[in-house]
Amino acid sequence: MSAAVVPEVEAVPVLSHDEAIAVATEIAADLAATSLERDRDRLLPGRELDRLSASGLLAVTVPTEHGGAGLPVETLAEVFRILATGDPSVAQVPHSHFVYVNALRHQGTREQKWFFFREVLAGRRFGNAQSEVGTRHVRDIRTTLTPAGHGRWTLTGTKGYSTGALFADWIPVLARQDTLAAPGTGPLHVAWVERHAPGVSVTDDWDGMGQRTTASGTVRLDQVEVTADRITPYYLTFEGPQTYGAFAQVLHAALDVGIARAALTEAAAFVRTKSRPYPDAGVDRAADDPLVVQALGEMELDVRASEALLREAARAVDAADADLTADSAAAASLAVAAVRAHSARVSVEVSSRLFEVSGTRSALDSLNLDRHWRNARTHTLHDPAAWKVQHLGRYVVDGTPPPNHGQL
């Protein structure tokens, strides 16, 4: 465990809903002030993440019975959205952290919960090592846990797009737990390895056009030793109704909704303070041009619609968690699919229309206003909105519930 990334605190604050929102709002304001430079120079947000950890925001979903705040998804989604209005790259880093806190709640053993939740309350972060590059599809996983005897396993494989791994204390790795008889076919498990354990290396090789400082690198696992008590059965998650996928997706949606709001806020500020009115518009300020105002109003109502769908989706996940049935889980998945697809469209559109209302001067590289579109366009490809739309469409036309897997 590295002293550089773990704050020197015994335990982080346990936040109420209102406190969490207030803290997120304060941090988001500071992030917003510096996001331009972080994107331009690709400055990885180590200090910013430490502040998030120390604030207690990363511990808000630890269940109350483990001493945490046990805040609902509704709060967490709003926290994510607010942080993303400040800097969606920074906000994306702890995404996997929350997903794996959630996974532990669902599938951790009593002992694992006791151990890992205490880690979270102490300000430790979880990363992610899930996707594999070059396989046939996103759920074709080739990293394996092979038995090494005496309750020990050996973990080997390579993971890409591992958001947050670079700054994590623990990296949960998705792998097939194999028998020697049939390698590569075992059920999916999550193996928890320490970031600096022998055989673990993390390379910062992400070079996307947007979301540039998410530290989404490559994790290499070379014969890493894992004990049985650090392995949780991922596959069980999908053997009944679940909100695991909806939980992960609603947080992704919150990032897009936050990007859209950030772009709109910046557009309004630019129009108010910097844009010149169009010649012949007959107004002194661009902000008085009814057509500019109209465009901003259209953007506002699109962003509001995404925000409303986000709140409804988060509440639907909470409702399904409180009373988990095939129907409630499907309702949550569909609500999340709606906000995911809607916010994908809106974040890309609003961040592009920013320039329509702001005028020629907004295209200067030094302002870096295009980062909003680059962020939106990059993050909305995380998994395709087209499929969310398919699931909604199938439900509408045939009443078909969405598939029960981690992507929804």
């Binding site: 996103v138 759920r139 797009y161 995380h382």
Partner: protein, 433 residues
């Protein structure tokens, strides 16, 4: 910031290739090769401009009888589109050049022999543009032409966004004409000075700092005691009357070419994609109905943008074809072409922006890798489109449709000026200032 200068590749005697015999497909292919790398490295398209000069690109509109390509504006717009599809910077870098060619063609047809200029164009010489200033009144530029005792002028001042000038032998400068004995500057007329950039008093730096169209060479040019012969100082009022529509046509063609590039890249990327989502419509991405429909939508946007752009080219050609018409007829043709170009922009900018952003939806997260620079299409389109705000254009078109309001007479991006009266200028002897 780059401070290079593309020096002319040859003397005037060493003529460039006759544009009529040029294989433009091969030229475009050659320019295409380094385009992505130039974008990634932030390099100006210096060699591409050299190649275009040597192949007679700048003389395409010069009449064949004078050694040029004899192309009409529809043909030129078509070639601009193709050129923009391989490097979106180039048609815009050549915008000022083709405007000067158009101006010379207009005057050649109306009043005065311009073969000396035709020869320069045919020799591969290129012109840039130097009209914009920062913060000054459009009718009172701070760049000044002062008469010298020998009848020539000296030019001093600074111009911004001098698109193309860094590559060019000539630049087309909008300046105030100072008159001895007339101390009130506000009364001074303005003029166009055609300035030889090889004069040591001319310096251009590439300080253009936009997130798109990074290679248009839209830098700052300073003029420090630059000599200009009298025959290169032209009354502003004599400028060819369809410059506004012509500039808009250039931007439309650039936008359309960008969309074509986006289509080309998305088609290639889809063809190469092997990995699809496990719950997708088809095992291969290239067979996925949703992906195909998306690509089809982009192809349709390109088709409509091309059709609209070429239609605008036809309307601008109608003005170019009427140099000897009466003032009212010219004014009506000019107004029609400006309304047509504004009308097309309302649709084309929307279609192209959507296409350049939508293309990612046919691809995966790996399409966002910076070395691919697939975002350049959107960045380029966004930058070009902001010269012609859709918001403004829709109102102009609507006001014309409902109230017959003539379009604002914008002689340059962002400015408006008084209407020209062609009867007066037609009566004058020539271009001399």
């Amino acid at each position: 910031m780059t401070t290079l200068r593309v020096r002319p590749t040859r003397s005037r005697d060493d003529s460039a290739t006759d544009p009529r015999s040029t294989d433009w497909g091969a030229v475009l292919a050659s320019i295409s090769e380094g385009a992505l790398q130039r974008e990634v490295d932030g390099q100006l398209p210096v060699e591409a401009v050299q190649l275009l000069k040597s192949k007679g690109f700048g003389a395409l509109r010069v009449p064949s009888a004078h050694g040029g390509g004899g192309l009409d504006l529809v043909g030129l717009a078509r070639l601009w589109i193709e050129l923009a599809a391989v490097d979106a910077n180039l048609p815009q870098a050549y915008r000022g050049h083709f405007a000067l060619v158009e101006d010379r063609l207009w005057h050649h047809a109306r009043t005065s022999d311009q073969r000396v200029w035709f020869d320069r164009f045919v020799a591969g010489e290129m012109a840039g543009n130097a009209w914009s200033e920062v913060g000054s009144d459009i009718d009172l530029p701070r760049t000044v032409l002062r008469p010298r005792a020998d009848g020539s002028y000296r030019l001093d001042g600074t111009k911004y966004y001098t698109t193309g000038t860094i590559f060019a032998e000539w630049t087309d400068v909008h300046a105030r004409l100072s008159r001895p004995g007339h101390p009130d500057e506000v009364e001074d007329p303005t003029a166009i000075a055609l300035v030889d950039t090889r004069d040591p008093g001319v310096r251009t730096i590439d300080d253009w700092n936009g997130f798109g169209q990074k290679g248009t060479g839209s830098g700052t040019t300073t003029f420090d005691n630059v000599g200009v012969p009298a025959e290169h100082v032209l009354p502003f009022e004599d400028r060819f009357p369809y410059q506004t529509a012509f500039y808009q046509l250039n931007l439309l063609a650039t936008l359309t070419g960008i969309a074509r590039a986006a289509l080309r890249d998305v088609v290639e990327a889809v063809q190469k994609r092997t990995r699809n989502f496990s719950h997708a419509n088809a095992p291969r991405v290239r067979d996925d109905a949703q992906v195909l429909a998306l690509v089809g939508g982009i192809a349709a946007a390109v088709y409509a943008a091309e059709a609209a752009t070429l239609r605008v080219a036809g309307s601008v050609q109608a003005v170019a074809d009427a140099p000897l018409a009466g003032a009212d007829e010219i004014a009506a043709l000019v107004e029609a072409s400006e309304i047509e170009s504004s009308t097309a922009q309302v649709v084309v900018s929307e279609l192209v922006l959507r296409a350049t952003s939508d293309l990612f939806d046919a691809l995966g997260a790996s399409a966002t890798a910076r070395p691919l620079a697939l975002d350049r299409h959107w960045r380029n389109a966004r930058t070009v489109a902001s010269h012609n705000p859709r918001i403004l254009k829709a109102r102009v078109v609507g006001a014309h449709a409902v109230n017959g309001t003539p379009p604002p007479y914008a002689w340059s991006v962002g400015g408006t000026r008084r209407r020209q009266d062609w009867d007066d200028t037609r009566a004058r002897a020539g271009d001399a200032g």
